[in-house]
């Protein structure tokens, strides 16, 4: 309870600080929000999205020293997308590693579909078309 209150007041103070120092300047952000500036509520949601991203990266075995930089490199929209859709977002990687776990059946099917030009799982296949 105490911790969450502390956190909330911290977030609020940040929001207020940024608002007082920039109160008179309309930010470029306004263009993208159909000429609406961000409300404090949006700011809090985006702030917590970044915290979620940091937590997820840590759980997914990312080097702890890199987490801060990686979170900082994302825009608010990217951080929200990351935090909300991490389970379904595709991660591009190496086909060979993922294939080691595949059963022979899958292997053979994908080999055939490769040759038919429907997939391209293996580097060595040439399509018949």
């Amino acid at each position: 309870m105490n911790i969450s209150k502390l956190l909330l007041s911290f977030i609020l103070s940040i929001t207020l600080l940024t608002q007082t120092s920039w109160a008179q300047i309309a930010s470029t952000e306004a263009i993208f929000k159909q000429a609406e500036t961000l409300s404090s509520k949006d700011k809090i949601i985006q702030f917590t999205a970044r915290q979620d991203v940091a937590k997820i990266l840590a759980q997914m075995d990312v080097e702890p020293a890199m987490i801060k930089d990686r979170v900082a490199a994302m825009t608010d929209e990217e951080a929200s997308k990351f935090a909300n859709e991490i389970d379904t977002l595709p991660a591009g990687g190496d086909a060979v590693g993922a294939l080691i776990g595949a059963v022979v059946f899958v292997f053979v099917i994908l080999l055939i579909t490769d040759i038919l030009g429907l997939t391209k799982v293996f580097d060595f296949t040439r399509t018949v078309r």
């Binding site: 008179q24 300047i25 994302m74 579909t113």
Partner: protein, 305 residues
């Protein structure tokens, strides 16, 4: 949106574009790191033909993109890392047209493909390095094979499984061939928001060469100059914007603020009086600026206790 009518498209779009072959240096993907190596290949391409210098080392690219538990790289982190490397990341419209258009202008495109089916997805990033019109093939640095020629029908199948996702990474002086002004501005602003304001300013300026009267780009450039305390340049672009759209409330507001800060209180007041908006939030900003000018242009640090 992908749909069943995709089969008619290739006849139209592939005819329109010429063959292309882009000399992108090849790097074999390190284990699970095709995201990092794709950025590395495109970065070294730009380094080889422009004054661009990468800001991150190979090791940093790897450490910023890999998610071990996912055995790969997410699209958002590929974009974020490309920006951190000093490049503007622009997501293409999800069409073969956009892809071929970029290739024709010698812009390599990083695509996400699913090498397999959705029931056993094998996601892979690869830079597309060209198009052969005669053979109807797409060339790409695919996995361990440099400039692999892939039948366009096969390519389309692999690519549509990712929703035709493709991105160009460009030094901020270069514009994507297929860009719309709104989407490009967003990409440039993403650079500014993630700590690359200098690059963003270059990108806004190159955008103005293609879209010289775009209000939003002028506003973004003026603000970026104002934020970096380049007041003369900021004022020049606010005024340019207002010469096109004299009652732009946000520009009037920001220019008044600038005038106020540079000791021109009377002009600031005359300017803010022209500003008016139906939007409550914008109107409250305008009111606050007006109040500040009345108070002799000192920011009132309202002691909220």
């Amino acid at each position: 949106m992908m749909s069943g009518c995709a089969s008619k498209e290739p006849l139209i779009s592939t005819e329109r574009y010429n063959s292309s072959s882009i000399k992108v240096p090849f790097v074999a993907p390190r284990s699970d790191l095709c995201g990092a190596t794709s950025i590395e290949m495109v970065s070294s391409y730009w380094q080889s033909i422009t004054t661009y210098t990468p800001r991150l080392s190979k090791e940093e690219l790897d450490a910023r993109t890999l998610i071990p538990a996912k055995s790969g790289t997410l699209q958002v982190e590929l974009m974020a890392t490309a920006r951190a490397n000093g490049l503007l990341a622009y997501t293409l419209a999800p069409t073969l047209d956009a892809l071929l258009h970029e290739l024709e202008q010698q812009h390599p495109v990083i695509v996400l493909v699913n090498r397999s089916y959705s029931w056993y997805p094998l996601w892979h990033y690869a830079p597309v390095t060209g198009y052969n019109k005669k053979d109807q093939t797409i060339l790409m640095h695919f996995s361990n094979r440099p400039n692999e020629a892939i039948n366009i029908a096969t390519f389309k199948r692999l690519w549509e499984r990712s929703g035709n996702w493709g991105v160009v990474l460009l030094p901020p002086e270069h514009l994507p061939a297929s860009a719309s002004s709104e989407a490009f501005l967003r990409s440039a602003y993403n650079l500014e928001k993630t700590g690359m304001r200098e690059q963003a300013i270059i990108a806004y300026k190159s955008a103005l060469q293609r879209w010289p009267k775009d209000i939003d780009i002028l506003f973004a450039l003026a603000n970026a100059y104002y934020s970096s305390n380049k007041l003369t340049a900021a004022e020049q672009y606010y005024r340019k914007l207002l010469s096109i759209e004299p009652l732009h409330p946000l520009a009037l507001n920001n220019l008044s603020d600038l005038l106020c800060h540079t000791g021109r209180q009377n002009e600031a007041m005359a300017t803010i009086k022209k500003a008016d908006s139906d939007n409550i939030e914008i109107q409250s900003i305008i009111n606050a600026t007006q109040k500040k000018i009345l108070n002799g242009c000192t920011l009132q640090a309202s002691p909220k206790k």
